[in-house]
Amino acid sequence: SDAVEVGPGNLKVLYSANGGKFTQYFNQRNQVRSSLEQSFSYYSADDGSKDAWKDLQASGAYVFRPNGSFPINSEKKVPVTILQGPLLDEVHQNISSWIYQITRVYKEKEHVEVEFTVGPIPIDNGIGKELVTHIQTDIKSNKTFYTDSNGRDFLKRIRDYRADWDLQVNQPAAGNYYPINLGMFLKDNSNEFSVLVDRSVGGSSLVDGQLELMLHRRLLHDDGRGVAEALNETVCALGKCMGLTVQGKYYIRVDPVGEGAKWRRSFGQEIYSPLLLAFSEQDGDKFT
């Protein structure tokens, strides 16, 4: 009674009518079910002025050095618009004035497509920000997650641990971040939870059952490692310049354990080889 069901095909995603967030993923074909909870937060970028580690290191293009994490609208109800049709359902969420999200569930697909539009990241308080989204599931991942290796094999990562040396954890977030070019996944004895991306992002699993993706960054300080400029991208048009707005997609799917690899490899290829569209005109019924 508290949920809105979205999805014209086998895949159903439940949205809480109360909070406007998705709560559950259910595939009617294979009966896979998982809780899903999404949230947004940002890491405030270290400006390099503190002497905490005696290296005066600012967060910049090369070095991810957050000094705090702040949830975005975690308590606020988000306006939701749901569009339902024969081919796909869409859920529009205006998360904040600079975060807009469209979630799509297709009739003939068994994954959820999430399109994010983020930016310009506000910097009027003088603090650089690195925006992340968290997707929490009920997978019992036990500190273990898997990330692709430059689009190739998925490698096992264990939080706060390296197999070949004794790791001292000074940066709990940055020390567990990995480059994500294709995707990452979690698994337990029952299910696999996979996320594939359409662009290179940063990612991690800092909490069991949770995957985290960094969607956009806007920084005000140079990290002193070579760029000699802050990562503060702007776009100029119509007589004004503003911070960059990015738009991208990621894809979510839950499979029975051992069955996710096929989707990750085949759909991963499709993400990076999109169908090419070409347009022309023709006269009347002259079908070439």
Partner: protein, 200 residues
Amino acid sequence: TTDLLADALAIAQHHDAVSGTSKQHVADDYAKRLFIGYKQAEELVSNSLACMVESASASGCKNPSINFKQCPLLNISYCPPSEADLAPGKKLVVVVYNALGWKRTDVIRIPVVNENVIVQDSTGKEIESQLMPIVKASIAIRNYYATAYAGESPTSSPKYWLAFRATVPPLGFNSYVVTSGKRAVAASIPQTFHRTDGSQ
């Protein structure tokens, strides 16, 4: 051209371009050169598609008469060929090419200004389609970025995404025809639920 995509391929492999660790003016230059590469490739692809399409029905391909256009800014819902009001008696042809070695079925979405549209497959049979309103915020972003990146000020604003299912053979193409002027049977504006205060 003999150096087709040479600059673009070089840039795509440079660690600064991949990771974003370049100065803004360098990133701007990368974007410009990538787009130059894209435009050159677009011409080649358009001619190739024209040859493929014509040779499938006529007698080979010497001087393809079909002129294909692409929509590199479709991601920001900017696609002049699909947004234009078609002249009387004209139909919009969408050729969909699949570069992978297996058959694919996917939902294609293009912006349109008119809700009175139907989609036909290459045999002329009408297929199921769906309209979704384009949100105003997207139009503002689209106009800004179309000006910034393409130097074009959009003259019209599409109202809807037209979605239809395309099936494309391995390493091949399929074509679909969008016709205006007739009330769509299958395409419809979906139900909308809006909640702002907890009530549904």
